[in-house]
Symmetry: D2
Subunit: 338 residues, 4 copies
């Protein structure tokens, strides 16, 4: 940590800050310039609340130097994390992985038809939600565990893996037999109790960026899971809230290269939630792969217009086929396969 | 709902949209202008996902007309809601209510000293957190139920009410004996499962605005609680995320008059979280009361520098005394008492 | 325009609103629903300030239906605009155009070396700033017209076109002999006096999106230029301000498909300003082309570290060569050439 | 400046960074911690582009320590700036100043009636725009200099001062005889050429915060004017762009105490542009004064509904009278007069 003192800070104020730093377990190196004194602190600052120092008399600014995350940082595993699933599919390696399926699991016909087409087009994961707490109290709330049973059956029939969202600690146990990857939704990115429990399982976790979360905050949430011992964490960019209203969210494509620089964890693009509009999904999926995404998570439905949730952002199966062939060429352009 | 067709929309496209609206249970009135056709739909549109219509061929825009909330809307109770607590304190009426206390309950001495001073200065509620999932996995996590026992004891000793944050459904039952008001934190504003359960209790709920939530979304979350039968909902502005970094969040003071216009529910200002800086708390508390807030929620601590959490935004007790006397004059200026 | 009345609006209030609409030259169609009255207005609403109607007694919301822009709208020229330059280069057609060069023109050696390399790599435009009002009053302020002379000479020597930023009305005339395309910077996107004058010249205009501008506002600014008679307008996405601080701005890649849908004007991606970091330029340039951008505007410099301005976001010439070969493959993936 | 090296930075990388710092005229102090090396640089860093250092191999982060503004900083004039006008009115002192008038000057009757009422209610300044470049090319564009003549006449008749917006360098000279204070609009906050010219006049300048500008950027723009020798700069908060759409902008009331802390310059609140809605103007004006604003800038019009511009946010004269009496009490609550 660095404490920059105000130009007119007194010796007493400086000493007072040094004492507070030492008390917090930090070693202090002082630099006295012509106009300003700077205190560099080295020690266990990752767990300190630095804002207290900012309010001490005579202090101008306090800067954190070491990243507040360690296990999620690039330097922890410079070669990058590759998450390997039980059927040998690897996420984070040379191959760009595709995860596709409906927003909500609705019935057997829907999920089987989707699985068949996702597999045929080259997808690796079947996605689908079983629990759907909706922003309107009057909307469809999901099939629950019976939905997951159907999805597992369909995935197994076509050699796909299963990813589904976990919303509460109490759902972890019942979901475990059915999923190959837990998805943590944007609203739960900072549900630290849930993250802590997910750190204790060994099933991989796809952690979605919160709608107002910085990339640093997403990495800190990943740290929570990693610190529990679950090293199979996959990050996901799905759009942030900005002032622009032409799209539901603004998909921050630049988060992909930023994550690649700061962390060793794989990063997935979700153009369905990132845009909220079916006609924007394909261009944004292509952009995500072009920018270096390790996987794409996309909503598809055999009868997209009638989907029980998220209909407007769900691709028709034919659109999905076309997208897959475009992505195959883009992947090649960035030295990958699909 | 209103569907505006594109200038060059064909009759077939228009008919197709009308069919889709009728199928959704909506009556359609058509206006054919010189350049554009407009379809006005009347019916149960509150629960419809309008974005599907936006993707139909020939559609330019779809607008929702009726508010997506009903019970939270001003017209449901034009005279305004006054929440009355068991000791007769009313929130939403003429008197501006003050809720104060530490971020976290730490020990008996701390909470009793705070209670004494809050009462002496004219406060009505003792606030304090028992469960503190922190963004860093290494920080203090709260005292739990034993902390609530201490806070209840202190509040009773000084004739104060108790407000504390509930973070999970499983905490509702154990907290019930200790609290006069449940607080729902910003991160849980859209935890719809939690909101639904809180709709079933009869203890009042203070619902904080999410860090990236619009005022409309906050009202829709209130609707969730109200629709369960709990009509004692209090809203709270505590800062939103913007590009400005001089303050931790940007406290949206204008949310106070906006809520007063759109809803009958009381609205509280939280200048501690709204700014994240002790030296900004007093001006923003004054601004909130001047703009019409029904209550102020503020962090105070007998030893603010050493507070186990949120130290930087916590007032010293002397600062709190001074703030209370300022607020008293401001309240009078807007025709209220404190 | 649509006026949605409040549920409890009186007949007198409704009549009053109808009168105000008629007075403004709008024909009114009334829809009386079970709970709500809706007034659809058809007429010259593009130039009306609709917010006045919002404050009339009994009004719930006012919605604009027709786009506030006409000439910039997709339906004005559904086939899309292709801007053709004097040497036959077309922007908006099959070929993805590359514009590259230093932030500021510094000296002959710099601009000639850059021109040679830009041409060799397949670029069509040499870019470079002559006027550089900087946010710090102490920094390099640009070479002015002598810089443009140098850039023109270098561009002609290598068969390139010239694009440079115009910052004031008084610069238009002196710049005219030197530039093939005027660039309007983000800070001037709503300098309507400047836009009006640029509507009167016949040189194409590249209009950059303001740092806090919506896509609709960018199209309205384009309308200003188009309405003066200059139909050669090219839009440019260069990053918007959001709460994320890992990149200087958040480059809104989704603006590219949104503009393609709403407008017939070509759209360019500027990954240098979009990210502010050299190491993010290549991934974001690839993403822009993958999402459908018609051109890329990128900062390159023979000695990028020592560039007089924007050094941190400027590519080395070798990085530029590599990027060009990647973009060539991506362009093919979306059915284009480069 | 502080350069934090990556954990695994080599000695060669560290030396390379030190060389680059020294070359830029900065003295370097090195702190070698157990895991990380920190380089503190002291010298003329205010004018350095620090982002170049961020891209050097082995660098983790670069932090600026000294404020990039000097003349605008609090420490330059700790007692605060009071701007005194020719009739003795002081802005920045004990008295809260009120500036009121129409968005646009329209005709003699309008501006005289307004002046009479503003004076009667206790206002000190008559505001009004003469040049109105509008976002729609079809709207009223202002009366120009003849409008200023009328406003000067009306102000003199009632003993008021005149404030009006300057939009271009060419308007400075012609406006000089008519105005007591130049207003720089939000869109011109970073028009550095205009700011430089305004630094050379001796008329006070009211500088509005840009819609996407940070407080630091506003202070840097003020620095531009101050560095030209014009020390009479007044800042103005008028709303920033956020994701919330219930108000046109989000008025950042916390900017008022932040400016008070960082700078010695007076700060004004503009609730008309801050909210865009007449019914929000009074609560936000009260909030601004409660938070410590030195003045209020507000739009009033004898016939607000028919105002040629900004009708929706303009107060009726009776509303203005009522607001003035409320503000008088609030001012007293914060130890001021009005």
């Amino acid at each position: 940590m660095i404490v920059a003192m105000q130009e007119k800070a007194t010796e007493e104020q400086i000493d007072n800050v040094i004492d507070a730093m030492v008390e917090a377990g930090v070693s202090v190196h002082r630099t006295t310039g012509a106009i300003q004194t700077i205190l560099a602190g080295v020690g266990p600052t990752a767990s300190l609340d630095l804002s207290k120092f900012e309010l001490l008399p005579g202090v101008l600014h306090v800067h954190r130097i070491s990243s507040p995350y360690k296990l999620a940082g690039r330097s922890f595993r410079p070669e990058g994390t590759v998450v390997e699933f039980r059927n040998g599919v690897k996420l984070g390696g040379e191959r760009v992985v595709v995860m596709a399926g409906p927003c909500s699991i609705e019935n057997r016909a829907q999920i089987f038809e989707t699985a068949e087409r996702v597999k045929a087009a080259g997808g690796s994961f079947l996605r689908g939600g079983a629990f759907k707490p909706r922003s309107s109290p009057y909307a469809f709330q999901g099939m629950g565990i019976p939905g997951l049973e159907l999805m597992r059956e369909a995935a197994d029939a076509y050699g796909l893996l299963v990813i589904s969202e976990v919303m509460e600690i109490s759902q972890i146990e019942p979901m475990l037999p059915y999923v190959d990857c837990f998805q943590v939704g944007a609203r739960n990115m900072q549900n630290f109790n849930l993250l802590r429990e997910l750190g204790l399982v060994r099933t991989p976790i796809l952690l979605k960026r919160g709608i107002a979360a910085t990339i640093e905050e997403m990495l800190l949430s990943a740290e929570y899971i990693l610190s529990g011992g679950n090293y199979n964490v996959i990050l996901c960019e799905r759009g942030i809230r900005t002032y622009e209203t032409a799209t539901r969210n603004t998909m921050d494509i630049s988060a992909i290269p930023v994550v690649k620089k700061l962390s060793h964890l794989p990063i997935v693009g979700d153009p369905s939630h990132g845009t909220g509009r079916r006609d924007m999904v394909a261009p944004m999926a292509r952009a995500a792969v072009a920018a270096g995404a390790d996987a794409i998570l996309v909503e598809v439905h055999p009868n997209a217009d009638k989907a029980a949730s998220d209909a407007a952002q769900t691709l028709y199966l034919d659109q999905f086929d076309k997208l897959m062939s475009e992505l195959r060429v883009i992947a090649a352009a960035v030295g990958r396969t699909l």
